[in-house]
Subunit: 799 residues, 2 copies
């Protein structure tokens, strides 16, 4: 391969003086020493006494295997940060290597600044060791508690998309992103490499991926460590990178290689940025990456009980335990710790020696102190337009038809425009911004796109602020990285397929729970906003496999403090809710709203009033004024609202004496008691809406039992009859979907009659009428392929 | 690049005679004609009359864009199947191209065999058109209704892992696997390419991936269609394949290229298999794949209303609608349909002309009739050992300690051994078979591994039957493919991270619901069995991010007919449950069981009796015989069972007069009414266990509200008080995890006292005692880092 086409390499020069090698290695030894100490030691942190069992933790917990590699990378990043005055953050894909990141932030001083009781002396070191994976202490991972972390790394797969999200609109930031060879096998990671086709070298920063091949997972070799060099190299060239290889195990040689490679890749990053920013190159850059091949459990015991440990999977967690029962083990631990020569690294007080401390960057250049990793500190509120300006003109309920998300699209367009200068708002989605009717965004921005373009392309640009890739994982990961570094965003997605990121939502919600309640120095970040559209009731093109409203159920399992669920029934309520969500902090907001043309119910004034409580009586649809209602018709979601109102219309027609109260729920969490959720309606107010002994027919957007779950402590619960999606569906008409799940107007009228035995003979006749209607509907659709005109064209008629 | 290192190519020769080109093209035109007909036509299937609006569907639904490419591939697969007598199945990643697969199975005759009313004549063709995406008809995707399908293709990402699962242990099978360029962006797909490191060329079949670059998703270009040829080629060489390129749009030239390429890749597959099977080569093969670059909406209208349609995203769904309002559109449709010259393709009766019909393979060689795609028809029951042989010797409840999953591992080992000859059982998991204590499996088999090996490797072999890759998506996809083709398996996983495949479970459960209830020719397949271990209560090494018991909640949203959830409290109950699950069909079985050493409760006889109902009174722990109990202590899950019994022990000690009944639940679905779930306990029996007015303290493994949801129609529900996981946790001691979530013995005793106001002053004293114990516990763990001996060493003491 000639030099001109050279796409990968390993660097041969030796940039470090002998002294620098020794200092660099000493710093690394210090980090390794502190890492082993955290896993094993309760006391005797400086090994000033002979090690005894009393100095060792009774339960040995943590992961050693990945840690020395993480430490090795940290010390070399420190070196280039200092040398070239770089702004860098460190994302550890193998986040279970928590001891390494804690050790390094302690060495550079940031740990003690955030946690003054963990001081930089022997007493602090003892506490540092003791607290790790210890009751009342800190978690074993690179958790929110760790300074400099925006990535806990517990569930593998997301480090690369987090890193790319972090550098968007941060042109001076470099996110060093360590990808473990285990994590590299996950799907989300395997596709996140393609994020380089969306990164703008002018206005975004850069991700420096460091693929760490240490060969093994828990008990298995890793795939990428067992393919040929040729395949590995081609794979990453194919992904669009220029891979540099740093391979070996002899520390001094490895320091030289890593230092030289770091210098080269940083220079290359600067050259690419120069080309793009000064010379306005339009070529997609081939960003550098590093492949670091080093032993698992590097510098740990070579063998334990005669079995290979270093450079093998047995070093994955704690390489050896049983110190009380296996006498050799205590000695092995002592020898291991002493191999780092702590006396050379720390002074008598336990402070890092000055010549080593000087290797770390200073102030906010320290990776533990880089403000991007505490995004809330950088967060600026969005400049919000007045959402009332986008109101649809709804003079009478249920007369006009419109697409709710199209109105929201105009609001988003202006949010985008007003914050264009601040560059702190982006919209994410798999491929559906236009199809979800948010196309107004393309009046003011484009889709981000760095790959090839063709003349016929529309709305693609290198500086586009709409992020679309057909990977819900990548969208979610980018958005999380963007939010965690202090910006704002929205993820719009097919409702059924948001389950793809269930587990990512879990991790983000857990992060928010911990940061918002337990870590005061973590400043609030913008909420993670979901718009779930193309929902269960309108899968006209797709059918059964695209029908799943269960993300709401999944979300409400997480801490009430951090989750919100909204089901706006029309455009004006959707605008109110969107405004609220985009202004909020430290939450996950789930908005479910259809994109199809549908009847509009509330004027903007009415919508504001309705959304301010989140639940309320629709007086204009009710006829129970001045008396107790006979029945409550409650609804949450756009299609259920339509069917409830159509059912009320039928009731008015056929049972005009019946007193009906209509309640609409926008904010689902109002249903829970206030003790369970901050938005829960006080019992008094709830009971005023839902009298204890009045039957309630509740039409709900999702799986019906969620309404039971949310209301089981409410007095009305004994008389609650819920309809919702019950996994019945196929490719059929919109109304038939409701029929298949007994959520349609005719079934709802039947439900009312079933709940009110006092209605007598008249009711039986009406029930038969409803059944006849259902038969008529079925016959009609099978013959004509669409719903009957009386259903398609139904409008609310105030009687 | 020299020939010896040539790793990819495009074939230049022209193997088809002019007549063969014309015939092949005519067959393709027929498939395309039938596809367009399905999307648009209600009547006039042969266009014998001039097309009018009455002939066109009122609602136009479906996806045209991908369909002609799928049809093109089908006709060329047919050709090599027939030529080389191959056994092939067809997996369409872009499953929304349903019309194409329906058209092809209709042309080859299989469709009419499964659905005789859709006959191969004009009347049948009319029905074929009408039923597509039509009420009462068939779904728009390659759904279970489609002959030859094992992959619905609705949610993108899984086609490649499904294909690899299908060919495991099917040495003569070739799975042609079309990967859309949209789907290729998903994470699960991006990592599934690595499945080639797990495929044994001797005893497994082969997957022929066909990456279909048609350039566009819904409204966007696709990433892989917009990178350079060099990158694309290197990417797939990096993934370990030998890519062949077939690129163009001119049909005749494309037929020649595709035919030549198909011949080449089939020959290459045979050569590789020969090398491995006859010459016993141990080199990991570089399997061929095809990159097909053809226009989206190929042969469709070039432009619609002056805008580009063919070869553009506008052909994704229905290229044009509004036939009633846009007069030109009806004519455009007629011209489009006529461009395929149906009169040349079908005879006057609407039957495919004989010379075309002869191009299709015959009998079970037709891809719509290949028995592997109706796996239930091939399914053989597992030969099961007597699970009682693996019983732990439990003479007294709660005296001895053991690891439940280790006992299960021995059962699995012998299942593996007994079915070694049948080769129809495999175990799947991310990297945890050993760490989940299922290591006995390695006495009789190994992990499948085709990548490089080192001398120190353990339990890796090319013919291993344990499938481990650190991708839950790939594990799930492989297993689904394996089950759908008529084999058996088990997926063992960290409980928290099974959420990674939430959406895949959804799709499989939906497939089972449809096939088991609505498609009689689909024969029952083996159940999908999950073992969730390393569960929420024992994340000693990992903490909060690894704690999530919500998969159960997710699962119970699906149809009761297809889901089962088991929480065996100890080893012998786990053995009973495992036996039951491995024998079952058409279900998803979720087993949650810890891997840590824990007290054992039931002898095998007692376990069998207990599991036969799935719920029952533990008499030996109860003291309410001959009277009404004062309180019920119910539990589901191993840790909750332990804590309930320890609480009962405390109650006996401090309140010996209190009548306590202990109920354990193994089969969670017994809690639901029989009307909701087939395993639901009849109300009479349930009320006998749980008297309507006795307070129940229920300690549950997962989120507590699920118990409310399952029991809300039961009489006892008003007195039900549930403890479970409430998102509190960190890296702490095992007992402290229970304390953090109020599920521990001390809190449970407090709960009992709170529910029984009649207990009076004595009780207040005991409550204080419990609070003191909790403080003592906290103080102890913070000082010593482990639980108090009295907790660690607690055993059940019959009083």
């Amino acid at each position: 391969m000639s030099d001109t086409t050279r796409q990968s390499t390993s660097i041969q020069c030796e940039p470090l003086s002998e002294e620098e090698v020794q200092l660099t290695n000493a710093y690394w030894r210090a980090a390794n020493y502190l890492s082993v100490g955290q896993i094993y030691l309760l006391d005797n942190p400086m090994l000033k006494e002979a090690l005894t069992l009393e100095h060792v933790k009774p339960r040995l917990l943590g992961h050693w295997g990945t840690t020395p590699g993480l430490n090795f990378i940290y010390v070399h990043l420190n070196r280039v940060i200092k040398r070239d005055d770089l702004s860098m953050i460190y994302l550890a894909g193998p986040g279970h290597g928590g001891p390494g990141l804690v050790a390094n932030t302690y060495l550079e001083g940031t740990y003690s600044e955030f946690y003054p009781n963990i001081s930089q002396d022997a007493e602090g070191m003892k506490k540092l060791f003791r607290q790790f994976s210890f009751p009342g202490g800190i978690p074993s991972h690179v958790a929110p508690e760790t300074p400099g972390s925006i990535h806990e790394g517990g569930e593998l797969g997301y480090v690369l998309s987090h890193a790319f999200g972090a550098v968007l609109d941060n042109p001076d930031l470099i996110a060093a992103c360590v990808v473990g060879d285990g994590e590299a096998e996950t799907g989300p990671l395997a596709t996140a490499w393609h994020s380089n086709k969306f990164l703008n070298p002018v206005s975004d920063g850069v991700v420096l991926p460091i693929l760490h091949l240490n060969g093994y997972k828990i008990a298995n070799p890793a795939v990428l460590s067992r393919i040929s060099h040729d395949e590995l190299e081609k794979l990453f060239i194919g992904y669009g990178y220029k891979p540099y290889f740093v391979e070996g195990s002899e520390p001094e040689a490895m320091h030289q290689k890593m230092a030289a490679t770091m210098e080269t890749v940083v220079a290359e990053i600067k050259t690419i940025q120069q080309e793009a920013r000064v010379h306005v190159s339009r070529v997609r850059p081939r960003w550098p990456m590093i492949v670091l091949r080093s032993p698992k459990g590097w510098t740990g015991p070579k063998e334990v009980d005669g079995k290979k440990a270093e450079d093998y999977w047995r070093s994955h967690q704690v390489p050896f335990g049983n110190l009380a029962t296996q006498p050799g083990h205590l000695l092995l631990l002592e020898q291991w710790l002493k191999s780092y020569k702590p006396g050379e690294l720390f002074d008598d007080n336990g402070a890092l020696r000055k010549e080593l401390a000087e290797l770390a960057p200073e102030g906010e250049r320290r990776m533990g102190a880089n403000p991007h990793a505490n995004g809330g500190a950088l967060l600026k509120d969005l400049i919000m337009p007045d959402y009332r300006n986008y109101a649809l003109d709804v003079t009478h309920p249920g007369q006009s038809t419109d697409e709710a998300t199209r109105a929201m699209g105009k609001l988003l367009r202006d949010v985008m425009k007003l914050n264009a200068k601040a560059k702190n708002f982006r919209v994410f989605g798999p491929d559906e911004t236009a199809s979800n009717r948010l196309g107004a965004l393309f009046e003011v921005t484009n889709r981000a796109w760095q790959a090839e373009t063709l003349p016929e392309d529309e709305y693609l640009a290198t500086d586009g602020r709409v992020m679309e890739i057909l990977s819900e994982h990548t969208c979610q990961g980018w958005l999380e990285g963007y939010l965690l570094t202090g910006r704002h965003g929205l993820f719009s997605c097919y409702e059924a397929f948001i389950h793809i990121i269930d587990s990512m939502f879990n991790q983000h919600a857990k992060w928010l729970k911990v940061t918002s309640k337990e870590i005061p120095w973590r400043r609030p970040i913008a909420s993670l906003n979901y718009l779930l559209t193309s929902h269960v009731w309108r899968q006209d093109h797709n059918g059964f496999s695209h029908q799943d409203p269960g993300f709401i159920d999944h979300v409400v399992n997480k801490k009430a403090d951090v989750i919100r669920v909204y089901l706006p029934p029309d455009a004006n309520t959707l605008l109110c809710v969107s405004d609220k969500c985009l202004r909020s902090k430290n939450l996950v907001n789930v908005i479910v709203a259809g994109k199809q043309p549908q009847l509009q119910w509330l004027s903007m004034d009415a919508a504001i009033k309705h959304c301010s409580v989140g639940i309320g009586i629709w007086e204009w649809a009710s006829n129970d004024r001045g008396g107790e209602p006979d029945v409550l018709m409650a609804c949450a979601g756009d299609v259920p609202t339509l069917e409830i109102l159509a059912a009320v219309d039928l009731l008015r027609q056929h049972l005009p004496e019946l007193k009906v109260r209509v309640i609409n729920v926008v904010d689902l969490m109002t249903l829970q008691p206030q003790s369970e959720h901050p938005h829960g309606l006080p019992d008094k107010d709830f009971d005023a809406l839902f009298p204890a002994n009045t039957p309630v027919i509740f039409a709900y957007h999702g799986y019906p039992w969620l309404i039971h779950r949310l209301t089981y402590r409410r007095l009305c619960h004994h008389h609650l009859h819920v309809r919702g999606y019950k996994e019945e569906g196929t490719t059929t008409t919109p109304f038939d979907m409701a029929v298949l799940n007994d959520l349609d107007r005719f079934h709802l009228v039947e439900d009312v009659i079933d709940q009110l035995p006092k209605l007598g003979a008249d009711a039986a006749y009406i029930k038969q009428l409803m059944r006849d209607k259902l038969i008529e509907h079925k016959n009609y659709i099978v013959q004509y392929g669409e719903d009957m005109a009386e259903i398609r064209d139904w409008k609310w008629s105030p009687r």
